[in-house]
Every structure is written in C-alpha cells, then in structure tokens.
C-alpha cells in the first residue's frame, strides 16, 4: 500500500465517520463537530491530490482548501451562534415555567 492510497482511505474514512455522526449523533454540538470532521476529510483528499499530480504541488487545490476552510469556519460560527441562541431561549422559557 502506497503512502498516497493510505491518505486517500483515511480521508474517505474521515468523511464517512463525519457523515455517520451528523445523521446519528443526538446532540447538536456533536452534529456540528461531525460536519467539521467531514470537511477535514474532504480537505485531506484535496491536499493529497495536490501533492500527487506533479513533482511540484498543485496550487489550485491548495487555494480550494483555503477557500473551503474559510467557508467551514463561517458555517460553524453561524451554527454555533444559532445553537447558543436556541439554548438560551429554551432555558429562559424553562425558567418562566417554574
């Protein structure tokens, strides 16, 4: 098994673990983490492909990974904000009940 195929299997594996987590995990925080694991899997595949194609790394793929990371941060931040707001709202409504 070459080093490259090891990385590819690992990246697909990460994607799969993340996908499983998003679908199965009950807690919202775990779902958000699972989404991040999925994106790490995709980024890894992109980086592996970049190192593979030529003797010098392919900068297009590196640019794609960077863009992907920015998007992932924005998405995670929005998801966390929404989760916190929902949590605060439900805690307040619980207080009102008692």
């Amino acid at each position: 098994m070459t080093q490259e195929s090891l990385y590819i299997i690992a990246s697909i594996g990460l994607f799969g673990i993340g996908l499983y987590g998003v679908i199965v995990a009950p807690h919202i925080l775990r779902k958000i983490l699972a989404i991040n694991i999925m994106s790490v899997g995709v980024f890894m595949l992109l980086v592996v492909s970049a190192s593979n194609m030529n003797s010098t790394p392919d900068p297009v793929l590196h640019a794609m990974v960077l863009t992907g990371i920015v998007v992932a941060i924005a998405g995670t931040a929005l998801a966390l904000l929404l989760a916190v707001k929902i949590h605060t709202l439900s805690r307040d409504s619980d207080k009102d009940d008692h």
Partner: protein, 508 residues
C-alpha cells in the same frame, strides 16, 4: 455603444451590483435610505438583465458554441474563473431580477416599523443582497468550484434570513436548514475533489468535453446528486423545507420557494444532462423521475393535512418541485442526444414550469404573509371572513392557486400542457397520470382554503368572537402579491417570450 453593452461589462456587473448593494446597506445608518437604495439597485439589475437578454437574442443565431463566456480578470480556464451564460441560465437570471424587484418593494413595507427600537432592516438588507448575489453568481458560474462557493453564499445568507424572526421555532428551523445545507455542500465538494483528481480541470465546458463513464465519474455524480437533492428538498430529503420556508418572514419564504431551491435543481440538470451526461444512466434518470413523482404525491398529501397556511404553501413547494424532476426521464430517450447542452422540448417545458411556479408561489407566500399580518395568525381553520376583509389578498391567493392547479389560461396550465406533450411524444404516458393527479390534489388543497375563507364571520361569531382582523395593511403589499399573481396570467398568454429565451444559443 457596443462596448458598453458587451458581455464583458454585463456579466460581472450582475454579480458586482448586488454585492455593492450589500455593502452599501451595511454601511448606511438610515432605514429609509437603505430601502431606497435597495429598490434602485433592484431596478438597475432588472435593466441590466433586460439589456443582456436583448444582446443575447440579437447575437443568438450566430453563436458558435452554446455558452457565452467571460473570463474574470482576463485569466481563462483552466487557471482562471469563467462566467458563462446560455439560454437556460439567462431565463433563470431574468426570473431572479424580476422577482427581486417585486420582493424588494414588498420587503420595504414588510419590515418597515418606524417606532420599533429593534431595526430589523439593518440585518435584512445586507443578507438579502448577499443572497441575490449568490443566486446570480451561481447561474453565471462556469466552474465547478466557483459553484461550491456560490452554494455556500446562498446557504449561509438564506439560513440567516430564516433566523431573522428570532423566535425559537425560526432558529431551530434555521439551524436544521444550515446543517442540511453544509452536509449537501460537503458532498458536492468531495465530488469536486474527485472530478479534479480524475480530469485535472474545474471548468464546466472542459469537463463536459472530456468526461467519460468511469467509476470515479459515477461516484462524483452520485455525490453531487445526494448533496444537491438535500438542498433541493426532493422527497425523501425534504424534511427540513416545510419548517424553514414556513417560519421565515414572508418575502424570504417567497424567494426561498421561488428561487433558492431551484438553484440546486438547475445544477442537477446541468450535471446530469450536460456536463457529466456520459455517466448518466437510464436507471439514474428514471430514479430521479420516480422520486419526483413521489414528491408530487407526498407533498400534496401533506399540504392537504397542513393546519397552517404558510406550512401548506411550503408543502405545496415540495409537491411542485417534483414536477421539475420529471425533466430527467423526459429529457431524451436517445442516449446520444445527451450532453449537447440544456435545450429541447423537455427543458423548455421545465424552464417554463420554473417561471410559472416561481411567480405563483411567491404570490402565494406574499398573500399568506399579508393574511398573517392582518389576522395575526395563519391557522387555516380560523380564516373565516377572509373574503370579506381581504378580498384582494384572497383573489391573489386564488389566482396563484389556479396556476398551481394548472387551470387555463394561467402559466401553470401551459407548463403542465407542455410537460404532458413531452410525456406523450416520448411515449412515457405514465408520467402524464402523475401530472394530472398532482393538479387534482393541488385543487383540493387550494379549494380547502377558499372554502373556509368564504364562510362569513357572522355565522361563526358566537364561537369565535375575537376572530376579526386587527392590523392595517399597506395597500402596496397587497398590490405586490397581486402583481405576481397577474404575472402568471400574463405569461400564460405570452408563453413564447419564455420559450424563446430557453432556446437562445441553439444552433438554428
């Protein structure tokens, strides 16, 4: 003047203009100024699209390729990013520009609360324009990675707009929408990585020239399909749509149902029938059609069972999206004809259906928003007296409903007629049964609302004395919804306008 109206100016402007609007509305302090700028920008955008269409139809017959292209910054593919336009994307851009104008005017009044401490418009306008920018950029993208970025821009802006209401229900719906959106985009991004590994290009046109039916192309197409079906909310992946579309503010619901879900459908059509057509098998196309048929039936049943008006309209979107997916089995029974671009009778029919549904559904959501604002709720069972208090909104709802059902002379009727014709022509009559059943069920849920609306308040006065309209509604809000509903009738009489547009760029 030639240089001013060339593609080099027009295409980047369509992406740049909404971005400028987003920045301006972020910077400006005065709510009135923000709204005025937005309306002006929407007007300019419509003029630009109209110019673009004129330009395209004048040069349409002499096109060598079906795509008109423009390289950003002068860097051509594969290194640079190309903007590209063909008949189908031109139609979608025109629809976007027209709906943006009407919905922007509506939003100006919808969010206008002069005495409120909390100024929602400060958050609404920038997000609104980012969403429009994302939609325009998606229809213009000629590059699969660029499409990923636009998908994310649309997703993040749409989620934030759904959450704008701030209620717990809206936030929960928004969070679920966000997770589904991210999941879909990641599947899509993985497919992009696979395609780039296999073919070494991100350009749509180059991919379509060299794509082969290999295992890796199949895997990529399967991932793209999964990701985009989640975003389009085709049954059985529709679970997030009704809540998200049902809890958003009225103009946001309207644009989500009319345009945002169709962006991912547009991409699916692009990949299955054009770019990755060699990998598209008959079974795959049939499967998408079957899911579409299931969506028509299931969405209609859920719409019949819905207790809230906006939820009913949202489920009706699930059903109507099903019709779009009939494109895949109906596109062409001849395998060799695929991959030659998005055109043909089935594409014309579905393109027309998209326009008809967008106008009707936007009108319906605006009418539902008006009703909710006036009555203070949108429970269907308590809408007695609607016909007396809000005749214009109810009339709007009825006309939009007639188009959804497919009654002549509406655009909905013609689009279904075209679909039926294609189904008969390609000897696939079983789709015709589904199309007709969908119309019948749409009639049931539309008439259910009309039926209750015409029960007068007096008959029910003893049981529900508080069921009277309380809030005053600006006339222009009713007029915006009415305008969209009338558009479905006008388009019903002028179908060739739309149909000509789809075939721009076809070799004549």
């Amino acid at each position: 003047m030639d240089s001013l109206f060339s593609l080099d100016i027009l295409l980047p402007t369509l992406v740049g203009l909404p971005l400028i609007a987003a920045i301006l509305t972020t910077l400006l302090k005065s709510p009135g100024l923000r709204a005025s700028i937005s309306i002006a920008m929407a007007l300019i955008q419509l003029i630009i699209v109209a110019t673009l269409l004129l330009w395209l139809s004048n040069s349409g017959t002499s096109l060598e390729t079906q795509y008109q292209r423009y390289s950003l910054g002068g860097w051509g593919a594969p290194l640079g990013i190309d903007l590209a336009i063909d008949g189908f994307s031109a139609l979608m851009l025109a629809l976007t520009a027209a709906l943006t104008l009407v919905l922007t005017v509506y939003s100006r009044y919808y969010f206008f609360e002069p005495h409120s401490r909390l100024d929602k418009t400060a958050r609404f306008w920038p997000l609104w324009w980012l969403l429009i920018m994302g939609i325009n950029a998606l229809f213009l993208s000629g590059d699969i990675f660029n499409i990923y970025v636009t998908l994310e821009i649309i997703g993040l802006a749409a989620v934030s707009l759904v959450a704008l209401d701030g209620s717990r229900a809206a936030l929960t719906a928004a969070l679920r929408y966000l997770l589904v959106g991210l999941l879909g985009s990641l599947c899509y991004l993985l497919a992009v990585a696979l395609l780039y590994r296999a073919y070494g290009t991100l350009d749509l046109a180059q991919l379509s020239a060299i794509a082969e039916p290999t295992a890796i192309t199949w895997a990529a197409l399967a991932l793209i399909t999964t990701g985009l079906l989640l975003k389009t909310a085709l049954v059985p992946l529709h679970f997030w749509l009704p809540l998200a579309h049902g809890s958003a503010p009225a103009p946001v619901s309207a644009i989500l149902s009319a345009l945002v879900v169709k962006t991912s459908f547009y991409l699916l059509a692009r990949f299955w029938l054009d770019t990755l057509a060699p990998a598209a098998t008959d079974y795959g196309l049939l499967m998408l059609g079957v899911l579409g048929a299931a969506a028509i039936l299931w969405g209609s049943i859920q719409a019949l069972r819905a207790t809230r008006l906006k939820l009913m309209v949202a489920y009706s979107t699930v059903a109507q999206l099903g019709y779009l997916f009939l494109l895949f089995p109906l596109f062409s029974p001849d395998e060799d004809a695929r991959g030659a671009g998005l055109s043909g009778p089935a594409v014309s029919a579905v393109g027309y259906f998209i326009v008809a549904h967008a106008c009707a559904k936007a009108a319906m959501f605006l009418a539902a928003g008006n009703i909710m604002r006036t009555f203070g709720h949108d429970e269907i069972a308590r809408l007695h007296g609607l016909a007396k208090y809000m005749p214009l909104s109810l009339f709007t709802f009825a006309i939009a409903g007639a188009s959804l059902i497919g009654l002549p002379p509406s655009a909905g009727f013609l689009s279904k007629w075209l679909l039926l014709n294609v189904a008969i022509d390609t000897a696939q009559w079983w789709w015709a049964i589904i199309i007709l059943m969908g119309g019948l069920m749409a009639a049931m849920y539309v008439f259910r609302v009309l039926n209750i609306a015409f029960i007068s308040v007096d008959e029910k006065a003893q049981t529900e004395p508080k069921n009277l309209p309380t809030n005053k509604l600006p006339t222009i809000m009713s007029l915006c919804a009415f305008l969209l509903a009338m558009l479905t009738i006008v388009l019903g009489f002028n179908a060739e306008l739309i149909l000509d547009l789809v075939t721009i760029g076809d070799d004549v």
